[in-house]
Symmetry: C2
Amino acid sequence: MPATCEQPLTLHKEKVLALKDAIELLSGKWKFCILLNLYNYGTLRFKDLQETSVGITPKVLSKELQELEENQLITRTVNNTKPVTVSYALTPHATEIQPVINALVEFGLKHRMKIKGTSS
Amino acid sequence: MPATCEQPLTLHKEKVLALKDAIELLSGKWKFCILLNLYNYGTLRFKDLQETSVGITPKVLSKELQELEENQLITRTVNNTKPVTVSYALTPHATEIQPVINALVEFGLKHRMKIKGTSS
DNA sequence: ATAGTCGCTTTCCTAAAGGTAACGGATAAC
DNA sequence: GTTATCCGTTACCTTTAGGAAAGCGACTAT
């Protein structure tokens, strides 16, 4: 039905499925933010993530971290420190998301200028 | 607090804000999918989008399109055809999102192989 | 006049996301 | 023994996203 079709239909459908997988995994208010902080700082403890992801509550942070770990995007390491601390870090597999985040950040910056300049 | 800091704090905070803006705008189950279809086909009518975004209901599609239009990512054009048709197309500003979608698709493909190969 | 297409809108509902607040065990400092 | 830190968990609640089903106005074809 569409007027133009730039690529085979099957290839396009595969892309749609892959996109839906990625969305199912990463959508929500916090996951990208958590990952960005880990990209920037390398390794962060629970409390660090609570502070850098401004506004998140411990309950939600805990849940997001579990989901990211289940999907092998981060690792969880318990350190035997004085009060127990837990370190979170990215897995190699998570580096595949870095281009996504970079692109999102860049779009966000441009969109800010575009929209907030227009509607004022 | 974080162990390593690869860039100035202010720059990082700006990135976090831009990322949150982008997430607020694009998160959800359908927006990326709609945009991908428009990238692929160039221009689509309401019903085309309903078919290519498999599973979406007219109500939700309508809402998503309105939000995308409000944010100047797509244009809405009413054609004076026999039964009324409406064409949706991307704005130049929307091309900024293409890298995001490409990166998401690529991640989705790799993640499929990684996870579904592992857990079987 | 009946039935179909297209682009929605409306109503109703459920499930999930996410927030608030308080508490828990472990350990350590005062 | 009281307080504090760290990493959560639990219980409860509100908000939002999103799905199901039906209808509607304009037009067309039979």
